[in-house]
Symmetry: C2
């Protein structure tokens, strides 16, 4: 079995800690290690390091090599970002190149999982189903009527030959309104789409061939380059022309045959905002519901997130639902409820051409 860890994305939702050139998968926002390392470590009971294929943006290649020094993970660098269809295609041809014919797990490098054992168990289940040329997704059991995630609707079936807890997918659904999200919770046949897929390289490539032929053709050109030695050059030529399209949109939403979902209750979060990070680190909160990191003094504060990452002591007095993040060169103070709107700050910084800060 192989695991493809997709670490190519960029984003500044954790500004001022995350920056354009320093996306969250390379930050240690969920614990002691950068998320990309935690993501790889999470599957070590499932695969050895040599069975991990890590796909990063070229600008992060050196940093990644440093992070994984002494480990045998395969590291591939995308010359430019081309969304998940290309990345999954690349992972599939590379896994095949390594001789893998068994199911491969494709997963983002910037998610948090509170219960890794449950997660690995679900991957094993998914893998068994995926052996039969199916594409299997993990469907996260919703814990709230979240409007920030896509959903997967399933249909109950009990196919004898599996004896697995898995369902046939009826539809992939875009981010819903609040009303719809509440309905989905009540109905119970909707799961969160975590963007985690399990399938054999062959199945992935067949799906690309059918639904995204240009991406498939690009990947085939890479296959011929593996032996010839000019892989990196060819990767650049191929990626330059590739369409940037997500695997969900380009393949999963269009596919009509065998797509299955394994429900998974593993404390998953895509960690999309400071507020969601605050919530998932609940166990580390003090008796007043405050999370603190680095040197800080909190007096009469409630439900606040205070992070000192610039070496400076932060003193807080009488705060409530407040987000304070200090780094070497920038400071954020925000109402926690507004943490989804951080982009309003980074957009301003972009307009002001403060390239040093975003």
């Amino acid at each position: 079995m192989h695991v493809v860890v997709m670490a190519g994305g960029s984003g500044t939702r954790f500004w001022p800690v995350s920056r354009q050139a320093r996306p969250k998968q390379f930050l240690n926002i969920t614990g002691g290690q950068p998320m990309v390392v935690e993501t790889c470590d999470r599957v070590t009971s499932l695969v050895s390091d040599e069975e991990i294929i890590l796909i990063v943006g070229r600008e992060h290649l050196n940093e990644t090599k440093t992070l994984f020094k002494g480990r045998d993970v395969h590291i591939l660098a995308e010359p430019v970002g081309r969304s998940t269809a290309a990345c999954i295609g690349l992972g599939a041809v590379y896994a095949a190149h390594l001789g893998c014919q068994r199911p491969v797990v494709f997963m983002p490098a910037d998610h948090f999982i509170a219960k890794p054992a449950a997660f690995v168990e679900s991957l094993k289940q998914a893998s068994e189903i995926a052996s039969s040329e199916a594409i299997v997704t993990l469907g996260i059991v919703p814990t709230r009527p979240e409007t920030g995630y896509g959903y997967i609707q399933w249909k109950e079936e009990r196919p004898d030959f599996w004896k697995q807890k898995a369902y046939r997918v009826v539809a992939f659904v875009e981010k819903p309104t609040t009303d719809k999200a509440k309905q989905y919770m009540l109905r119970g046949d909707y799961l969160w789409n975590a963007g985690i897929f399990v399938a054999t390289p062959k199945t992935i490539l067949k799906a690309l061939e059918r639904y995204l032929p240009p991406v498939h053709q690009g990947m085939m050109r890479l296959v011929s380059a593996f032996g010839a030695g000019g892989f990196e050059n060819q990767l650049e030529v191929v990626y330059e022309k590739l369409e940037s399209i997500s695997f969900d949109y380009g393949v999963m939403e269009k596919i009509e045959d065998a797509v299955f979902v394994v429900p998974c209750d593993c404390g998953w979060s895509d960690v999309g905002s400071w507020e969601s990070l605050f919530e998932l680190r609940e166990a580390e909160q003090d008796e007043n519901g405050n999370f603190r990191e680095g040197e800080c003094m909190l007096i009469d504060c409630k439900k606040s997130f205070v992070s000192s990452r610039g070496g400076k002591m932060i003193s807080c007095l009488g705060l409530k639902n407040c987000l304070v993040v200090d780094t070497q060169d920038a400071l954020l103070v925000a109402d926690m409820k507004k943490s989804q709107e951080i982009r309003r700050i980074t957009e301003q910084l972009k307009l002001k051409r403060r390239n040093d800060l975003f």
Copy 2:
């Protein structure tokens, strides 16, 4: 006429900008200049620089000399702080030493005055009354039922020989409760005690002789040292033994004879907290009632005070009634309503022996 500017106090109410070793009179919190400079500049229409006697703590002597380089103000350094009775005594004997027999203004270096012309006018009135061996205080016309100030109760009189707007003082009153403060506002015969006195050196020394004989004796020893050259040594010897007592408590509250008050409506503030500073700089607030200083970006913020003094850009999102002050080595984020409780932070810093930060 002479003016004694008392700049010896220390305090950390404007932490993290003010520190034990850097009290607010040496900071530029109210505008472009350190408060001690603004205080002296405020009376330049009344006296020349040679008629200003500036009394500072010894630890601030060099800084003061630098601030007043090229100006002829007299600068005296107290070896230790001994509250206002000693400081006013020192100012009185020094003014007498300079040949002054006319009334002297004694005033703190760390007050803000929005209408300096009205202030100077009141000092002139007070000075005329003080010529006749009276001690005259300025009484600030209250604009709110403030519980943080002492009050002066007056009794209406119309002595013919003055034709001045001045009243005989009935009592000096300690900081009142909220109920009492409201009563004082309604009655109209209570004014705020700003700690600003006008009296001749002779009158001051007579009052000290009567109510604080040890302080008076100390001052007399200084007088004999003026000619002999060993003034600084003698100052140290005298101050070492002096009681630390305020002029209000030691003299004004006990005095039974001629004490008068000149009501003054000059936009006075003792600038006792970040909140009071925020209020008195109202004119500089933006359309959402925010005050900003240094490089900062405010999005969806209301009635907040954001000061960047450490060279770092501060980004604020969705704040309300919030106080954010960043300096080179410390950061404060507080509910504006709690700005009177800053000492809770500095006390903690003291306990933690963070001498670098308080």
